[in-house]
């Protein structure tokens, strides 16, 4: 009896274990062979931004990253060579890069060129070789710019004598060069006008004929004093021209819609008590939502010589009432000071803010809520472009 019970127990143990064992699942079917393809860009949306990365630590290797402010993904890249000037065509379909290449990488024969990229594919579509005179400086809207009707493309030259080239973007040719008598950069207006900033605080405006040659030129009255309170060269596009901020926080709006620039009365983004203590600064000093009339300015506490310091706050200004609508502290634990800024132009706008640590933060432009931080978006993301 004892033996029978022992056998039953054994059967229970082994038989039970055998009956409860589940055979391992069959392996999943093998992965299908892949086909190497090239990703197509999705349709563009207003929250895309072209991030101009100066790549200062490897300066011959600048690039433009296309970044989606909704998915927070990099969508692609445009090569930008050495100290590039970058801009978009008025219809947003083309990115133009004015840059310099050396025949042996870091040295050798210098070739200056404007390269055209199709923004629906990010493929190069053409180029114009320039005389080796292109300005080698930090990116702004005014290193390379289209006329309003896209008929001309202007490129700033500094050798250090200053002038600008007039290009035909359709025929991919250089039409000519126009001396600017010491004034710098190309501020486009209308179909055939180019203005440049002068040390005297004036704007030189050259009007072109149909062939892109100089028809006339005129000097404005001075609108700033370079000794007392210089303006940053990083103008901010407004509805009828550009606004230039000064080191001390004055806003000089210039209406470029007519034959000659009209200088509006300046106003200040700081109070009398704040003046000289709170300042704009960085590489791109302000951005404007044109329909809302709201300007976003990274601000820092600082004295003379701090005009390239990033902002510890972003101030929101109303362009009509000149009121300060908000002060958004840049969260110091999360973000370094902000040294470049842009805002999308849609009805649910977002602010892109690059920091001194090369991060790019995305804020809700209406509330200031921090939505995302993209760490290390390149080395030197100092300028943003969006249509």
């Amino acid at each position: 009896m004892r033996t029978a019970m022992f056998c039953a127990a054994l059967l229970c143990v082994f038989g039970g274990s055998v009956s409860s064992a589940v055979p391992p699942p069959p392996p999943p079917p093998p992965l299908s062979p892949e086909h190497l393809t090239v990703e197509a860009l999705p349709p563009s949306n207003p929250h895309w931004v072209y991030v101009v990365d100066e790549a200062f630590y490897n300066e011959t290797d600048a690039r433009v990253d296309l970044f989606d402010g909704d998915s927070y993904r990099r969508l692609g890249q445009i090569d930008a060579g050495f100290t590039p000037g970058v801009n978009l065509s008025p219809d947003g379909k083309t990115t133009v890069v004015a840059t310099t290449y050396f025949s042996r990488g870091g040295h050798g024969t210098r070739t200056d060129v404007v390269e055209f990229t199709d923004n629906t594919t990010l493929a190069l579509t053409g180029e114009i070789v320039l005389p080796p005179k292109r300005d080698n400086t930090l990116p702004t809207y005014f290193n390379l710019a289209y006329s309003a009707d896209s008929h001309f493309l202007y490129v700033s030259y500094v050798t250090p004598a200053s002038s600008f080239g007039v290009l035909d973007p359709a025929k991919k040719t250089v039409l000519g060069e126009i001396d600017t008598a010491g004034c710098v950069l190309v501020i486009p207006s209308g179909p055939n006008r180019v203005s440049s900033l002068c040390e005297s605080g004036r704007l030189l405006t050259v009007t072109l004929d149909a062939d892109g040659h100089e028809a006339s030129r005129a000097m404005s009255e001075p609108f700033f004093d370079a000794d007392v309170d210089p303006v940053f060269v990083q103008g901010v596009p407004t509805n009828d021209g550009y606004a230039f901020l000064s080191f001390l926080g004055e806003v000089h709006e210039v209406d470029f819609s007519g034959p000659q620039p009209v200088l509006r009365k300046p106003w200040s983004i700081v109070t009398a008590a704040e003046k000289g203590h709170w300042r704009p600064g960085g590489e791109t000093v302000a951005a404007l939502h044109r329909r809302l009339g709201r300007m976003y300015v990274p601000m820092h506490r600082g004295g003379e010589g701090t005009h390239k310091d990033g902002g510890s706050e972003i101030w929101v200004l109303d362009m009509k009432t000149h009121e300060r609508l908000a002060r958004w502290p840049v969260p110091a634990g999360k973000l370094a000071p902000v040294n470049a800024i842009q805002v999308s132009q849609d009805d649910a706008p977002i602010v892109f803010a690059a920091t001194e640590k090369s991060d790019v933060a995305v804020f809700d432009a209406l509330t200031g809520r921090l939505k995302h931080i993209e760490r290390r978006l390149g080395q030197s993301p100092w300028f943003f472009l969006n249509p």
Binding site: P160, E199, T306
Partner: protein, 189 residues
Amino acid sequence: MRSLDRLFEDSSRSLAQRTSRRSVLAALGRMLMGAALLPLLPIDRSSRAEAAEPGTAGAGTASAGAASKTPDKPAPDSPESCEYWKYCAIDGFLCSCCGGSSHSCPPGTTPSPITWIGTCHNPADGRDYIVSYNDCCGKTSCGNCYCNRNEREKPMYRLSRNNDVNWCMANADSNYHCSVSVILGVAEQ
């Protein structure tokens, strides 16, 4: 000194109206080739020098760019420190950290013949000095000891006070490598 500035400005404008750009550039090139040896412009900006406000973030600090500060920070009186007095308006990589010194280019590079000028205060002797910020050219970015200071620096329309342009622009090999600060002389009081 402001009257001297004005005189120089007026004479420059007059010269610009009378002279072709090519000849100006040729003369400028010849003149500036000696930038490391001879004081160029006896410009006194010291009367307009402002002390940075207490607690301000700007003057004397390296800023901008990824990895802009080295973990082992050199002493402020070291030419490898961004806080070194001669670098008060420099923007770029310190040649002292790239095989050169505060006033010499690294081996195999070429000094820029054109330059921008500043006035810096030397706390050791209490004097203001006119310095020439030359770039060293012909090799790609040194990438070491990035330093960005901007005392009395001006935007690009005042080119001789601007540190945003590549001053290697007129070199045969115009790639930017690093920057130096060369004493030209004592600023007149």
